[in-house]
Symmetry: C2
Subunit: 176 residues, 2 copies
C-alpha cells in the first residue's frame, strides 16, 4: 500500500466515441484492475459516511453493484440492489423515468428497506442524473429516507447534481 493517496484519475481511461460518436467515456475498469486504487475508492466513499448512521446502501445495476458491496460492508449496512424491470424475483416497487429516447423502469424489492431507514444511494457515475433521481424516488417510494448520494465520478458539465438538490451529494472525482 502506498502511504500517499493515489491520484485516482490516473486509473480512469478516456475512451472516445463511446457509447456513441462525440461522447468521451470515462472508463473505470483500470481502477478496478488496480487493487490499491479500488481499495482507496472504497475507503474514501465509506469514510464520508462513517458517522451518518447509514442503514442501507442502495445501488443500481450493474456498475453500482461493484462499489456498493464493499461500502455496505464497511458501514455495517444492508445492501439493496436496484434493478431493471423484471430482474428482481419478489414483489417490487417500480419507478419509470424518461430517457433521451424512450423510458426506463427500475425496481426495488417491496420489503428491502425498513420504514424510515437512512439510505445511501451509490453509483459509479453522475452524468445527467436521470438514474440517480429515479433511484432516490424509488427508495422513498419503498419507505426509506435518502441520507445522501455518492459517486466515484461526476461529470459536472452535465449538471446531474441539479436533479438531486434535496440530498447531500459527494463525488470523489470531477470532470468539467
Amino acid at each position: 500500500m502506498a502511504d500517499q493517496p493515489l491520484n485516482l484519475t490516473d486509473y480512469i481511461r478516456d475512451v472516445p466515441d463511446f457509447p456513441k460518436p462525440g461522447i468521451l467515456f470515462r472508463d473505470i475498469t483500470p481502477m478496478l484492475s488496480h487493487p490499491e486504487a479500488f481499495a482507496q475508492v472504497v475507503t474514501q466513499l465509506s469514510e464520508q459516511f462513517t458517522d451518518a448512521k447509514i442503514d442501507v446502501v442502495a445501488a443500481a445495476e450493474a456498475r453500482g453493484f461493484i462499489f456498493a458491496g464493499p461500502v455496505a460492508m464497511n458501514l455495517g449496512a444492508s445492501l439493496v440492489p436496484i434493478r431493471k424491470a423484471g430482474k428482481l424475483p419478489f414483489t417490487t416497487v417500480a419507478y419509470t423515468y424518461d430517457l433521451e429516447y424512450g423510458s426506463d423502469t427500475l425496481e426495488i424489492h417491496i420489503d428491502a428497506i425498513p420504514a424510515g431507514a437512512r439510505v445511501l444511494v451509490l453509483d459509479d457515475l453522475l452524468a445527467t442524473g436521470g438514474t440517480i433521481e429515479a433511484c432516490c424516488h424509488l427508495v422513498e417510494k419503498a419507505g426509506g429516507k435518502v441520507a445522501a448520494c455518492a459517486f466515484v465520478v461526476e461529470l459536472t458539465r452535465l449538471e446531474g447534481a441539479r436533479r438531486i438538490t434535496d440530498y447531500e451529494k459527494i463525488s470523489l472525482i470531477q470532470y468539467g
Copy 2:
C-alpha cells in the same frame, strides 16, 4: 457479530414461479440485506483462495459484481468485469454461447487480464452452467488461466458442474 457461523440458507428466500412458471428461484437478496450474513459469505468465499495466488477475480454482471468487489479486495486481486455485448467501452474479446432459446454474448476488455494470470471466476449461482462456462472460455481467450470457479449457491440437480470439470469448483450452499 455472531460467534457461531450463521446458517446461510436462512438468508435465502424461495420465490416460486420465477422467472417462469414451475421454477423455484433462490433469492439471495435477504442475504445482502443482513450485514453479518453478507460478510460471512464474502469471508467464506475469500478464505478458500487465500493461498491460491489469485491475480484476478472475474465476474459476470450483474449479481456476480456484488460479491466480486469484496472478494477481490480480500485477496488483493484485480477485479475484472465480464459484461453483456456492447457494455464495455474499450476493445473487447467476445464469446457467444447457446441459451435454451437463442444465444448470448459476453465480453471482457482485451487488456484486462495479464498473460498467464491466475483467475478466480465468481458468480452468485451455478445452475445449468452456461454462463460460467462462457466466462471461463472468455478468460482463457483473453490470456488468463482459470484457477477456480466459486459460487454462493449451487443447484446440484442441474449439473452445471459438469460444464467446468477442468477447474476447481467451490460453492457455499447446495440445493438438490
